[in-house]
Assembly symmetry: C2
Homo-oligomer: 325 residues x 2
C-alpha cells in the first residue's frame, strides 16, 4: 500500500447482482470505471451501501480481483474488510494489502453490542498484527446507526498511541457532526485523515481539517460533490453544498441502497441494476418513477452511463473509452 | 432431519479456543458430551453464547463435523446457521440438513437495521428455497437485544402461512415475556415450538404451551434446569425456578460468555477454557475468583467436568466413559 494520503470524494460502490442474486463483476467494473471518470478520487468498495455484509468473503475477493485485473489502480481502492469473525477480517485485509490497495475501511466486529473499549481495541490490534504487513493502512469505519457498535474516541486514541503508522484515518458515518468535530479536534492536526460519511458534512469537514468524504450518493452524483470538494474554499461553496445536499435529499426519501440502484438502473436503461439481495427490497416501480421524476426535475444526469448496459466485457469497453477517460 | 418435536433444555454451547484463538474441537466435543450426559436434551451449537459470529463458515462446518464424527446424535443438534450473507446461511443450513441435524436456529441477517417485514420474510424464504430439502426444520432466532433485528409476529405469521412444514419453532431471546406470551398465544396451539431464550422464563413458558428453553447457563447448570423442565407441573416448581434463577443471577453479574467460560475453566481446572475471541474479553483473575467463590457458596458444582482437561482425543475419552453415560 502507498503511504500517500487519501483525499477527496470516494464512493462506497453499490454492488450489482443478477436476477439470480449473484454478484455481477462486469457491471461492477464498469460502474467503478464510470465513478473514477466522473469525480471519484477513489472507491470504498464493500461498504455499507455496497451490501458488503450480504457478500461472502470469497465474493468480495473475486470482485476486488476483477477490478484490479481490469486495470483499476489498486491505490485508489479502499475495500471494506471488517467482519464479525476475526479470521475473515484478517483474510480480507491481507488480500487487500497484497493487491496494493490504498487502504482498508474496517468495521468493528458488529454482532455483540455494548463492547468494552479493551475488546474493541484488541479486535483491531489482533487484525493488524496477524496481517503483519507494514504496507497496511487502516481507516476505521464508525457507523453506529447501522453497526450499533461505535468506535469511541478513547479507542482511537489508544490505537494511535500504539499503531499510528497503520491506523491512519476514519470514515465517520455517525451522522453526528459533534462526533466528527471531536475526532477532527483531537486527531486531525497530527495527520489523521477524517472522511465525512456523507457529503452533507463535506464543507464542514473540510473547514475543520478533514480530507474529504466517503458517501453513498457518490455513486450517482460524484461530479458535483467533487466540484464542491475541489472548491471548498471558494465564495460559492455554501451554495454548492446546498445544491448537492438537495440532490441527496431527493434520494433519501427512499431506502438509500435501493434508491441508488434504481437511479443507476434508470440512467443506464438497465433494469437488472435495481436488484438487491435480501434482507433489502428493491424500489417498487412507482417509487422508482417518482425518484427518476424528481431527479429529472432537478436537471440531474449521469452522462455516459448508458455503457453500463453494454454486454461486452469491461476490458473491451474500457479500451473503447480510452480516449475519453 | 427428523420431524419429531424438539423439547427440553438445550445449551448454546460455548466454543473453546486455544491461546492462539483457534477453535479447539477436542474440548468442544468433550463439553458437548458432558452437556448431553448432564441434562441437556440437545445442543444449540453456534448460538450467541457460542461466539458463533466470531467463527468463519469453515470453522463452524469443521466443528459440527467433529461432533457428528464423534458419535453425538445429529438429531440432538440445532446449529445456528443465520449469517448476514445469504450464501453463507444457505451453505451452513444445507450442511446441517445433510448431516441430519434436528433443526437449525436461524438468525435474521443482522447488519442492516430497520428492515421491512417484506425483506425479512424474503431472507428466510430465499434460504429455505435454495436449500430445497424437505428435511429442513427452521427455528427462528429472535434476539433483538444483540442482533438489533427483531422477527415480528407478522413475519412469523406469514412464514407459517407459506412454509409451515419447515418453519417449526422459535427461540425467543428478547428477554421480554410479553413477546414470548404473544408468540405462544398466536402460534403454540398449532404446534409451533416456542423455546424461551433463558431459563428465567422456563416455568412461564411451559405453563403457556412452550416446549423448553435454550439457555446460556445450560452450559454450566443443565441438570438443575432440566429437573425444573421435567417437573414443571410439580408443586415445588416455583421454588426450583427461583433456585435456577438465583444461580443465573450469580453469573449475570459478569459478561455472560466470559463468565460461562471462566466457570468451565474453574471446574475443569483447565485455564485455557477461559479464552474468548475479540471483541470479547476474558474474565480477569479477580472476577473469576469472585464468581467461583459465589458459585461455591451456593453449593454449585459441575460433576465429572475434570475430564474436559483430558489431553486424549475425544473418541478415547468417550469410550472410557462408555459405562457412565
Amino acid at each position: 500500500m502507498t503511504t500517500a494520503r487519501l483525499t477527496g470524494v470516494w464512493a462506497p460502490v453499490i454492488t450489482p447482482f443478477t436476477r439470480e442474486l449473484a454478484p455481477d463483476p462486469g457491471r461492477f467494473v464498469r460502474h467503478c470505471r464510470w465513478l473514477l471518470d466522473h469525480g471519484c478520487r477513489g472507491l470504498a468498495v464493500f461498504g455499507t451501501n455496497s451490501e458488503a455484509n450480504s457478500l461472502t468473503v470469497e465474493e468480495r475477493i473475486d470482485l476486488l480481483e476483477a477490478l484490479v485485473q481490469d486495470g483499476v489502480p489498486a491505490g485508489s481502492l479502499m475495500p471494506g474488510t471488517g467482519c464479525c469473525a476475526l479470521p475473515d477480517t484478517v483474510r480480507l485485509t491481507a488480500h487487500a494489502v497484497k493487491l496494493g490497495c490504498g487502504g482498508v475501511l474496517m468495521l468493528p466486529p458488529f454482532y455483540y453490542k455494548g463492547l468494552s473499549d479493551e475488546g474493541l481495541y484488541r479486535s483491531f490490534v489482533e487484525v493488524i498484527e496477524r496481517v503483519g504487513d507494514p504496507r497496511l493502512r487502516v481507516y476505521l469505519y464508525h457507523i453506529p446507526p447501522v453497526a450499533q457498535v461505535p468506535i469511541p474516541l478513547a479507542v482511537i486514541e489508544r490505537l494511535l498511541r500504539t499503531h499510528s503508522r497503520t491506523v491512519v484515518g476514519i470514515k465517520d458515518s455517525s451522522g453526528d457532526w459533534a462526533n466528527t468535530k471531536a475526532v477532527l479536534d483531537a486527531f486531525a492536526a497530527s495527520g489523521f485523515e477524517v472522511f465525512a460519511g456523507s457529503e452533507a458534512f463535506l464543507l464542514q469537514n473540510m473547514r475543520h481539517g478533514g480530507v474529504g468524504c466517503i458517501t453513498a450518493t457518490g455513486n450517482v452524483n460524484p461530479a458535483a460533490i467533487d466540484h464542491l470538494y475541489r472548491h471548498w474554499q471558494a465564495p460559492e461553496a455554501d451554495r454548492m453544498q446546498a445544491e448537492v445536499s438537495a440532490t441527496r435529499a431527493v434520494l433519501q426519501q427512499f431506502p438509500m441502497i435501493s434508491a441508488l440502484k434504481a437511479t443507476v438502473a434508470h440512467y443506464a436503461q438497465d433494469p437488472e441494476w435495481g436488484t438487491v439481495r435480501p434482507p433489502l427490497v428493491e424500489l417498487g416501480p412507482e417509487d422508482a418513477r417518482r425518484l427518476a421524476g424528481e431527479l429529472g426535475q432537478r436537471g440531474f444526469d449521469m452522462p455516459g452511463l448508458g455503457t453500463l448496459g453494454d454486454p461486452r466485457p469491461a476490458s473491451e469497453v474500457r479500451s473503447r473509452q480510452g480516449g475519453v477517460t
